[in-house]
Symmetry: C2
Subunit: 140 residues, 2 copies
Amino acid sequence: MLSKKTKYGLKALTYIARHKGDTPVQVGEIAKSEQIPQKFLESILLTLRKAGILGSKKGKHGGYYLRKTPSDIKMTEVMRVLEGPIAMVPCVSLNFYEKCDDCPDENLCSVHRLMVQVRDNTLYVLRSTTLEDLSGKKYV
Amino acid sequence: MLSKKTKYGLKALTYIARHKGDTPVQVGEIAKSEQIPQKFLESILLTLRKAGILGSKKGKHGGYYLRKTPSDIKMTEVMRVLEGPIAMVPCVSLNFYEKCDDCPDENLCSVHRLMVQVRDNTLYVLRSTTLEDLSGKKYV
DNA sequence: TGTAATTCCTATTAAATCGATAGGATTAAT
DNA sequence: ATTAATCCTATCGATTTAATAGGAATTACA
């Protein structure tokens, strides 16, 4: 299940990507427009900034902006920052690998092999989708 | 993240599918072999039985057996019973659909559209994989 | 220079979920 | 009867999630 954190984060990124002009976008504006609790959104954007996806300007007339052009922001990156591992089990995770306590041999584990398939298919989608795709009106 | 419930359930189903002979398989045997807490596994197999995937025989020499041949047990079915919706958000779920409170129009929601893609790819894998695939030695 | 507006940071909380355990009721074979 | 198994309900502790609270730091601008 996708966490609200990730959902809100994706919506906020989309909002910022659609924003015209070179002024940063304020949390309050996004929160209001997307119906997201402002304080919660603050912490999410902070996470995205620390991950290098967003930049920020403090003080009056401050706000957030993208550090890269939307077509360079892949969904794999965003999902890993907000949601964590893309794999459904740590033992098939590329970026957050962990061995299972139980499984003596991963290659013989039926669950492992199934989850590799799921991971590969999910990765394909997330790698080939960028923020530009999300923020466009059309979506193929 | 895949719950332990689902992971244990898949391992147990695989174990039962590999079992030779027409005697039912006992919880204790599976628990021991797969390193699963027995009481926890009991409740999982009960769930699978109520969902019609497993049958059971009570009393001495009792146990669990498959209600269908392994090649007829799709991963979509098992996952929905144990893990719940396959979709990452309720608003793109085929079997557990729920409208989002926020989103006024799903077709305009960037998250919705991304999650449809993820769902379709995951569904493809889970639909085309059966318990027979899991329990076979080889896996393509 | 002061005030308002904004991001930044840490801590806390309420609720939900997860993983597991407990204890016995029921059923069937011998 | 006795034994061995599934069946059922309830509970518990730990973790995670979603959100809130309160204020510190920074900046624009009158």
